[in-house]
Symmetry: C2
Subunit: 453 residues, 2 copies
């Protein structure tokens, strides 16, 4: 992705902080013209004393918008720097689903104290949302939906919407529920606007409403919303009662979060729990070292293979010159293919049933690639003035290694998914490591046969 | 990402095709119950004769929904299998922005013939949209927005919306334009519903409307929409006239497309132009082989380094046993860091100004990682019964290589971005390749000094 969200430049931040420090009234004015995103940038750099000064100028509504822009962990660290009363005010102004994410990141004690300062209604909503794990539909949903009875008229529904417009997160879908709160239909604001004001909602509503249980994975819910181009998706409890909805603005967040996790996994580490720059170093260390050790252990057999062939290597030391180039090329081919295949699986373009098709395609492409790389490595060996027979061995090994790497990288992610192994284990470094040792075995065996050692 | 969009199972597809082949009426019934996504799955497997049969049962509207689910290149291949008149009908039913994407993938001749069959209005819209490159705001936008004059009353606006509700892509934002079509304000349907019916639009509209010029990169537009949680973003021409809008459902598509491109680049290939399974093999070959050759050339100096140290290697052949493990570990560390940093840059968490912070963090973490890996590799050398001094050399080299790989991987993406080099060049395989040769140089120099060769 090439473009970034707008950020304040360093000098703008400095200028704003200077104005604040001098109790200059224009600091508030300047801060008031910032977008929520830019205001968030400013807030995280301020001291508690400066935050106190800023609060009356900015107003709690804009502060809430800014806090909602932050990652929940970062927002939690910011919010405790306000007084508890102010923190409670800010959380009250936020959408309940966003506020819940922040409260979940607070320490237990801070969370309880701030919740105690909040209005009962808002605090109850947050406590209810905290029941659902954050990465589920229940954890993402907002309880601020509009629901009506099927017996209301279109005109009556419009009156009701007008009254609720300020509180609901979206009024573009109005859900229809029966007496015990079960979801039985939906009308869009668009339908209402176009409908005869005297008709009953029950007569114009759509009866088939796509819904998800609260325990649904957030990504599954996001994809449903996307596939159907909906603006919101209702969430129901085990009895089919409507308890919330997921809105379209959550979808892009979910897609982006999940893409980030996939990228970190493909790069060979466990995904971080929070943005890179604010994640504690100990967390980064833990997330990385686990996979490095696994890869190290998987890679130790390369040393065994080389030890096995130590006679060959000491007789023809030139063979060792090409080890990094050969296993590097194999690793690069594997990396290209595994990232493409894992991504194609993630977006739903490839599934296990495509195994043979994927394998055939990759074998054909890698044979062509192998021939190109073999030519290149043969030319390189000639420029190094090593024996031409060695050049031929290296070139043949290049073809074999490229095709072998392609086959492993194409098939392994699909098979592991089929075996229900967490796809997190298939990374480019893993394929590289697996191909390294087998590639060496192929190369040195070939050398032994051809060079008659 | 763990979850995929719904697909038809193989046996469902077979059953549907069997019913169709037997001219069984229930085929249409069965097909009618499919989601647009599932219907798209079915359509691409059908022959022209089967498509003709299906068309009257399914109806052009549902066909259009299904075609819109496909990737444009795939949709173009499908649409030419219908008669030209049917193809024109389907394109007319689609949103103009989606239809344009498909027409752009058709051959020139097919495109002109199908456009000639379409209603003049719809064909003109598509021709106008084709002016803008596909990856810009102009290429993504729909021209089906609702706009009104500021002098209309709220009640008048509602009447107008009711009349346009069927054609417009969204009626949730109504744009206010002056006499020559320049964008001067916006009201949401939400505002309208809550407003006094007798007030003038000019009095209730918001004057500050975020807008983008048609040439804006699609990702920049998507991020603006996301940052502001809007449902749509207006697009203007050079004179400030409103020419279209980008809607929220495009945003998730853009984010997903761009994430896929990033992932393929990080894996070391150029992004494919269409979904993996339908991309021609020649395209896959071209996209991959370019980077493989670049990486090969960048990696050739590894062989020069090893040739330079060939005396050392023939004197102590055991040194070569650890080459793959050492450069593998360096490459894995580099891969972890470069993917994390490039992703953090993409989502806007890290910029050039954070260079020193990133570098310091990575040096600290990698020192800890280096010590762990050094211990592991020393233990491994002991189990292989090589000389303990060699084990110490290998362990020291591990620390140096890990820290060096971390520094390169942390700094290079930020510096390249600063130099305005296309970030596409920074991939995990590139870092691995760069670190391979320098790592070997460090390792073998250290060996020469310590072992006094």
């Amino acid at each position: 992705m090439r473009l970034q969200t707008t950020h304040l430049a360093e000098h703008q931040l400095r200028e704003l902080r200077r104005l604040l420090a001098n109790h200059n009234g224009s600091a508030g004015m300047a801060a008031a013209s910032l977008t929520p995103h830019e205001l968030a940038d400013l807030l995280v750099t301020l001291q508690p004393a400066e935050l106190v000064q800023l609060e009356p100028v900015i107003g709690v509504e804009r502060l809430a918008d800014a806090v909602a822009e932050l990652d929940p962990a970062e927002a939690a660290r910011l919010i405790v720097r306000f007084s508890r009363a102010h923190a409670a005010d800010i959380l009250e102004e936020m959408e309940p689903d966003d506020a819940t994410d922040v409260v979940e990141e607070l320490g237990d004690e801070d969370a309880q104290r701030i919740l105690a300062e909040m209005e009962d209604d808002e605090a109850r909503e947050i406590r209810e949302l905290m029941v659902y794990p954050p990465e589920t539909a229940g954890g993402r949903m907002t309880p601020d939906f509009v629901s009506i009875s099927p017996d209301v008229t279109v005109a009556g529904a419009m009156r009701l919407i007008r009254a609720q417009a300020a509180d609901a997160e979206t009024i573009y879908y109005i859900y229809v529920t029966d007496r015990i709160g079960r979801l039985i239909g939906v009308v869009s604001l668009r339908d209402l606007v176009a409908a005869d004001p005297l008709r009953r909602i029950g007569d114009i509503m759509r009866h088939q409403v796509l819904r998800v249980p609260a325990a649904t994975d957030q990504e599954e819910a996001a994809r449903l919303l996307l596939d159907h181009d909906f603006l919101a998706l209702p969430v129901v409890d085990a009895e089919g009662r409507l308890i919330g909805m997921i809105t379209a603005d959550d979808v892009a967040d979910v897609i982006e979060e999940e893409a980030t996790e996939d990228i970190e996994r493909l790069g060979g580490s466990q995904p971080l729990d929070e943005p890179y720059l604010t994640a504690p170093l100990s967390q980064i260390f833990r997330k990385r070292v686990v996979w490095l050790m696994v890869l190290f252990l998987a890679g130790t057999y390369t040393s065994a293979v080389l030890q096995l062939f130590s006679d060959t290597l000491s007789q023809v030391v030139a063979l060792s010159f090409f080890i990094p180039l050969l296993i590097g090329t194999g690793g690069n081919v594997g990396s290209q293919i595994v990232t493409t295949v894992v991504r194609a699986m993630a977006v739903g373009d490839v599934a296990f049933r495509d195994l043979w098709r994927v394998l055939t395609r990759e074998i054909i492409v890698s044979l062509c690639v192998g021939i190109v790389m073999a030519t290149a490595i043969f030319i390189r060996s000639e420029t190094m003035a090593v024996d031409a027979t060695i050049g031929i061995v290296v070139a043949l090994a290049a073809i074999v290694i490229v095709v072998w790497a392609a086959a492993v990288a194409a098939v392994l992610p699909l098979i592991l998914r089929r075996l229900r192994v967490d796809p997190a284990v298939v990374s480019a470094p893993l394929i590289t490591t697996l191909v390294d040792g087998t590639g060496l075995l192929l190369y040195l065996s070939l050398a032994r046969v051809v060079l008659d050692l």
